[in-house]
Symmetry: C2
Subunit: 396 residues, 2 copies
């Protein structure tokens, strides 16, 4: 669709949608025009011409002159309905919805093949850091060993404040909410779901694996206490919430989201506040590191702008590694050294450790450091989170 | 040329050329085959089948089955002859030669238009960091304010060792040479020419300006002494050799290469040894930072591999910003605060400062800190370097 005008139908005019509107206004991308914006709530004051607004999604889906749908709503199931319907009608789609893509990646890849429509989602993973395109295009032929990083700005902001300003978890969370970095229900951010969705998107391009979110264990930072931060500090480490996808053998990967102790010498140590950082261990190029804004109105709008331009140039994802490595599977039996800290009185020893290396007491409870694996952690996940136990990886 | 087999003619089998051979062997890029390798010196033991080798460039240029030339020789003028001849014969070209591209960028863009051949040079700027593609594609529609960073691993290694191990310049340079990070004639690295070539490539894509190397002032680290390092250390800074391209006004840029004092809070502070780092101040996405290996056999081979894949997918540079901002010019009159340190006895005050702010003595000579501009520095460049004067930017 080289040089074809882009007539955009935009779903959602929240933080991301309005960021795109602003960015498009100043960038002046030629042959690009937002034709219609579908919003949910009538009557709100909005900085766009009222005739562009509609409450009816069909005004976008049914309009044959709209050839690109940009989807920026928050509800994943609704978003999938809109996006798949748009693709079936021959429209190209750009989405910022990481949960929608992670929940339906397999179907979305099939839909692209079936309909010939292009789907791009640079803004869905770490917003302004151009990581999807870097993995998909630059490293498409290079075997990658590991991708990890700080993919969730909200939890990173909380961890930074707990460490730097000696705040409690609740205080830091309230600050993040007051500043607009955390939502009223912060579950997806603090439980590691948001980071997991991004990991799933990126792993498709970095390691060629398509997995359902249910298949990937995520522990978050909901139960972290000051004493955990101090424990890490004694080892000159900071705690960061790290999603990891790591090659174990040719067709075996380990994938999880868990807090981890990060030492001073490590690039992610200095990624603070709401910033995102990505670390890539490559086959031929050593370790690469990228840092930037992983959320926010204009940074996310910027990534959508980049996808619009890509669309104009006929760019589409090829999923080269997935097509080559279709047989890659997850391995949940690899040994994993973890730190578990439970409220006083909880019988931590009963959890299935292969080997316990260390035990200790903190003002917030007692901890155990030992070797286990992802399968064991997954079997005990309900027990751990249900009892306010904080779990983190212990290898730094 | 989607799915067309790539039959490669490779010029040069040194560090970069042999890196590409290794990388291609393990990556197994489909439909890609090195058909002929042109080398300069006969009879050396080389890890490739002898029938692939030739001493005659025409065996590549005249072969109608070779559709891609990969150019990895060091001589810029010869490289330009080979590259332009290959393009005129309808071959696509991938080059790692930063000097060749910087010296001839205008001509090379014209040749692409004239011949329809594609020219890619990801490996020529910071090797494994995918910065050319990131600027060219991801940020093509976003106005960028500033690009800067550590583009030369050799000088960065020397500065790291002078600072960390308290070595003299000569000791650090000898170490770099012993480790293969510096050539026998290290001029291009230590005088900032190499960093300038990369800046020129990147500025074409980040800011849309095409400039000749002669138009950009470069000071290097040839005259740095331990006392300069210690001066910076007293301000909790490290000295780094920083190329800068910075937007002043809509169509005015400032471009130069000069050592600078970098403070602890700055991402480039921790880019040490032979690593490269790039900092990008964007219009919508805040500041981005990338770190990786900027040289070496396999990292450079990896970037060429990425270009080969791009070629297979029909990718080519569009120079969108250059086509839009053709009227952008350099401004050399902007005030610039610098530190100049001369051997004892040199009358530093006679140099044309707008304003002198500070004077002092070090064991290696006396220094002056004051405000000047690029034009004044350029007029005095011969005098400064000819008299062993170390110049660095003083704003941190």
């Amino acid at each position: 669709m080289n040089k074809t005008p882009l007539n955009i139908g935009l779903f959602g005019l929240g933080v991301v949608g309005s960021g795109l509107v602003q960015v498009l206004e100043t960038a002046g991308l030629p042959n690009t025009n937002i034709k219609k914006i579908c919003v949910r709530t009538p009557g709100k004051p909005r900085p766009v011409a009222p005739e562009k607004l509609t409450l009816n999604p069909m005004e976008i889906l049914d309009d044959p002159n709209i050839n690109v749908v940009v989807e920026t709503i928050s509800h994943a199931e609704n978003a999938f309905q809109l996006v798949s319907e748009a693709m079936r009608r021959g429209k190209h789609v750009i989405t910022a919805n990481k949960k929608m893509v992670a929940d339906n990646l397999h179907e979305l890849i099939e839909l692209q093949q079936l309909t010939g429509s292009t789907l791009l989602y640079e803004s869905a993973a770490c917003a302004a850091i151009p990581i999807v395109r870097t993995l998909e295009s630059h490293f498409a032929a290079e075997p990658l060993k590991r991708i990890s990083g700080i993919f969730n700005g909200t939890s990173n902001y909380i961890l930074s404040r707990m460490n730097g300003q000696k705040l409690d978890f609740q205080e830091a969370l309230s600050q993040a909410q007051a500043l607009g970095f955390a939502e009223q229900d912060p579950s997806s951010d603090i439980d590691g779901d948001d980071a997991k969705y991004k990991l799933i998107l990126l792993a498709a391009h970095s390691h060629g694996i398509i997995v359902r979110p249910e298949a990937v264990l995520n522990f978050g930072i909901r139960h972290i206490r000051r004493s955990d931060i101090e424990f890490a500090g004694k080892h000159n480490c900071r705690i960061k919430l790290l999603p990891v996808c790591k090659r174990i053998e040719r067709n075996k990967l380990m994938m999880f989201v868990m807090p981890a102790m990060v030492s001073e010498s490590h690039a992610l140590f200095d990624v603070e506040e709401e910033f995102n950082g990505i670390e890539l261990e490559t086959g031929y190029s050593g370790t690469q590191f990228y840092r930037g804004r992983g959320a926010g109105s204009q940074p996310t709008g910027s990534a959508i702008l980049s996808d619009l331009l890509a669309l104009q140039n006929g760019y589409r994802y090829r999923y080269l590694k997935h097509n080559q490595n279709g047989s890659t599977v997850l391995d949940a039996e690899q040994p994993l050294r973890v730190y578990l800290r439970a409220p006083h009185g909880f019988p931590l020893k009963q959890l299935a450790f292969v080997h316990i290396e260390q035990k200790g007491e903190t003002p917030d409870g007692s901890y155990v450091i030992g070797v286990t694996n992802l399968n064991t952690l997954r079997l005990n996940a309900g027990l751990l989170t249900g009892n306010g136990i904080f779990a983190m990886r212990y290898d730094f």
